[in-house]
């Protein structure tokens, strides 16, 4: 039987990972929708408008799930982690409050204006609304990532001896936490990948798959969507790697234990190799088999092949000296494998995108008669899931390898849970969230599959701005 702390951690993991399927897609799709509409606004070409509507619809239904699951995030620090909220509320609370006031109002209000406003707003103003939504999603990411970065690397606060609670020292310092500065670009690049891979798969399926569109203008649109999605996936994939490298070096400095468990490096080593995969060894013994790249871990951790990387045992001894007796080693197999699966899934998505882009260069069709074309078409249902897998494994790594701390080096996870909370209560809520989220996932997938099967809609007709705006009634609506 799991105890209250374990159940609460499991619940936090489930609702947060689930929420984070919809968040990055919303960030990416909002930017793509704004870009497509801008292309239409500047060129007047119809296929840009058709694709704007399609991507915008996927954005709306995705955003809706993100909103309702995000509400849970806003509440759950008080629901399950009230001791953490009481101790760190002064530092942590303002990020949530400011995210809400600054970003959520923008996103929610302007997405409504955009979707229902095609025949109500002048074209330029209407275009501005979707750009405001896109900016709002990024603002939201910057502010809320500061909250997470605080937990990785607590800064900008001091403990008030009188009240025994942490107090915010400077909000600006909280925002420019070095972990936040490194994590935000990494997260945003990962978000762009989710949107890119989704659009690549949808476009390729409709351009060259069994549901291929026969008519020429439709085919051109789907092909454009596939290649745009491909470029987004590839470019953001490269950006993920570069930003991930930067983040890894910051992490090695502020949370050396995290890099040590990522590599299951038990003993401090100079010129440390990076193990691509290993059989056995996660328990501290010599691995049965390990495929290593020499010096790579030292390069990843410190940018120098000869650098010393601290091992788990040395760090444990150091932490026990500083923080008192205790086990400060995270769950090594989870950290080791989630780190590798994160990289593997991300790289695979970027490689698939590169393959499609190369094969369809200069107006070529995807060679569905050749094995490579067949395999690429078969990979399409999996392709949109890969960046999500990479994101999820990345978060699992970041959060589990922070344990046993809630705020690294300052506050233990076991101390954060709500004191009166019972296992029965958390079990009940865990069942409720899991069942509902499962149903929502099925409904969302079926709805998106429905949307991408439709012919590209010519509606709404752009309003003739010389007419009275109120007489046109062609907006998409209920």
């Amino acid at each position: 039987m799991l105890d209250v702390v374990e159940l609460s951690r499991l619940q936090f993991a489930i609702v947060t990972i689930y929420h984070y399927f919809f968040v990055p897609m919303s960030i990416g799709l909002a930017a793509v929708t704004a870009g497509l509409q801008t292309a239409w606004w500047r060129t007047g070409k119809d296929h840009y408008r058709h694709l704007t509507l399609l991507v915008g619809k996927i954005l709306i239904v995705t955003f809706a799930v993100g909103v309702v699951t995000g509400l849970v995030q806003e509440f759950q620090f008080g629901l399950s982690w009230s001791e953490f909220s009481r101790f760190y509320g002064d530092v942590f609370g303002p990020t949530l409050a400011i995210e809400g006031m600054l970003a959520f109002f923008l996103e929610a209000t302007f997405l409504g204006l955009w979707f229902f406003g095609w025949d109500r707003l002048k074209l330029g103003l209407h275009l501005a609304t979707i750009w405001i939504v896109a900016v709002g999603t990024v603002l939201s990411a910057v502010v809320i990532m500061a909250a997470n970065s605080f937990m990785q690397n607590p800064v900008a606060y001091r403990v008030n001896e009188e009240t025994g609670r942490a107090e915010l020292a400077n909000f600006g310092d909280l925002m420019v936490n070095e972990v936040n500065l490194a994590a935000v670009p990494h997260t945003l690049a990962g978000a762009a990948m989710t949107a890119g891979a989704l659009l690549l798969a949808v476009g390729a399926w409709r351009a060259w798959g069994k549901r291929a569109s026969i008519t020429e203008p439709e085919h051109t649109s789907w092909r454009f969507l596939a290649r745009t999605g491909g470029w987004i996936t590839l470019v953001s994939g490269v950006a993920v790697m570069i930003t991930g490298d930067v983040l890894g070096k910051v992490m090695t400095r502020v949370q050396p234990m995290k890099m040590a468990v990522a590599e299951a490096l038990f003993h401090t080593q100079t010129g440390a190799p990076f193990s691509i995969f290993a059989v056995g060894g996660a328990d501290g013994r010599e691995p049965f088999f390990s495929l290593d790249v020499p010096y790579l871990l030292s390069v990843l951790a410190a940018g120098d092949p000869g650098a010393e990387v601290q091992g788990i045992y040395d760090l444990q001894a150091q932490y026990a000296e500083v923080y008192g007796p205790g086990n400060y080693i995270p769950w090594v197999p989870v950290a080791y494998w989630s780190f590798r699966l994160m990289i593997g899934a991300g790289v695979l998505a970027a490689v698939l995108a590169a393959a499609v882009l190369w094969l369809t260069r200069k107006n070529r069709a995807l060679p569905t008669g050749r094995p490579i074309g067949v395999w690429l078409m078969r990979s399409l249902p999996v392709l949109p899931l890969l960046p999500h897998a990479a994101n999820a494994f990345g978060w699992i790594f970041t959060e589990t390898a922070r344990q046993p701390w809630l705020a690294f080096g300052e506050f233990l996870t076991v101390d954060g849970v709500s004191p009166g909370l019972t296992a029965a209560e958390v079990t009940a809520s865990l069942i409720g969230f899991t069942v509902l989220y499962g149903v929502l996932a099925v409904v969302w997938i079926r709805l998106v599959l429905y949307l991408i099967r439709q012919d590209l809609s010519p509606h709404p007709v752009p309003p003739d701005v010389t007419e009275d705006l109120d007489t046109t009634r062609t907006a998409p609506s209920y």
């Binding site: 619809k57 709306i60 239904v61 809706a64 909103v67 309702v68 699951t69 509400l71 849970v72 806003e74 509440f75 620090f77 008080g78 399950s80 009230s82 909220s85 009481r86 509320g89 002064d90 609370g93 303002p94 949530l96 409050a97 400011i98 809400g100 006031m101 600054l102 959520f104 109002f105 929610a108 209000t109 409504g112 204006l113 979707f115 229902f116 406003g117 609670r165 107090e167 915010l168 020292a169 709500s418 004191p419 009166g420 909370l421 019972t422 029965a424 209560e425 009940a428 809520s429 409720g432 969230f433 509902l436 409904v443 709805l447 429905y450 949307l451 109120d470 062609t474 609506s477 209920y478």
Partner: protein
């Protein structure tokens, strides 16, 4: 006025705006299947809230987020103390938002029917749960010396038990009725045709019903008799004028009554934010729960910079979609 008091006022304001704006969202969601006799009429009813519901709901995010930032102890005690009721609210709100947003995205009668049913049920449940939760904590929670509700008796009853009180039951019924009344007044204001006519006919009946319920129920549930009398009188007045007065007057009157409720719940106990039913010493008070001066200054600056803009662009959104929605088929 110090910053802590200012933020107490702003928390109450967020709840007031949320109750009024989401109140009619819930009401419209509940009433759409009843007032709309066909696809077009139901679609028209939902189109009156389509562009706004999400922006309205952010006022809840603001209320909770601001409580966390300005009064961490209050946030911690309230949410952990009413754990399961708030989880239930989150679940029904999730169904509500998704059902509404998915409703028109598939051109299929069965799909729309299912979304409509889910929307109506979850809207009524959310309104009832908010009423119940406000009823439950209006009289305080059994907070211990650590400012939290301890586990006593049945494991689920720790937080669920608060809903099995007269105050919570009254709150639940009042919440559903208030949302329905506000929704009817809003639909009367924002539609034309058959939906409009039915909403107008429904509003006075709901007004009288609510007047009777509040007048009798509030004192019985442990509320003050003068508040019951005041609200019942106002609701009866609404019932009297709803048949003949201008629609915006009726809507404004109902909004005012709904807006008074969070004020009546929060303000009379001032400076107690959340009373302990076990000992007055364990109650959570404004000054003790307030965040540090730096945190309060930070969110004050953010609010001064951001909130006027929020109010301006939300007003702009309502202005853009000010035209009444016709429930006749529209040319596409």
């Amino acid at each position: 006025m110090d910053l802590a008091t200012l933020w107490f006022a702003l928390v109450v304001l967020c709840w007031v705006v949320f109750f009024v704006l989401e109140g009619f969202d819930f009401g419209v969601g509940m009433l759409a299947p009843a007032l709309g006799k066909d696809e077009h009429q139901r679609g028209a009813a939902l189109r009156t809230i389509g562009p706004f519901w999400d922006g309205n709901e952010v006022w809840l995010v603001a209320a909770i987020g601001v409580t966390f930032a300005a009064f961490p102890d209050w946030y911690a005690a309230l949410l952990s103390g009413l754990y399961l009721p708030f989880v239930a609210i989150l679940l029904t709100l999730a169904v509500r938002g998704v059902a509404l947003e998915f409703y028109g995205k598939k051109d299929d009668d069965e799909w729309r029917r299912r979304c409509g049913v889910a929307l109506a049920a979850s809207s009524a449940a959310t309104a009832g749960l908010f009423g119940a939760v406000f009823g439950a904590f209006a009289g305080g929670l059994p907070l211990g010396p650590d400012g939290q509700v301890a586990a006593t008796g049945g494991a689920l009853a720790r937080s669920l038990g608060a809903l099995a009180t007269p105050a919570a039951l009254f709150g639940a019924v009042a919440g559903v009725l208030a949302a329905a009344l506000l929704g009817a007044a809003y639909l009367a204001l924002r539609t034309t045709g058959p939906v409009h006519a039915r909403a107008r006919r429904l509003a006075p009946r709901l007004g009288f019903l609510a007047a009777v319920l509040v007048g009798l129920g509030l004192p019985l549930a442990g509320g003050s008799w003068w508040a019951g009398l005041l609200l019942a009188g106002a609701l009866a007045g609404i019932g009297l004028i709803a048949g003949g007065a201008r629609e915006w007057v009726v809507f404004a009157a109902v909004s005012l009554v709904v807006a008074v409720v969070p004020v009546l719940v929060f303000v009379p106990d001032h400076p107690v934010l959340l009373a302990s039913t076990l000992s007055a010493d364990w109650s959570i008070t404004l000054q003790a729960a307030a965040a540090s001066p730096t945190a309060l200054r930070t969110i004050t600056i953010a609010a001064v910079l951001v909130l006027p803009g929020v109010i301006a662009y939300q007003t702009f959104a309502y202005w853009v979609f000010r035209k009444r929605v016709a429930s006749e088929p529209v040319a596409t």
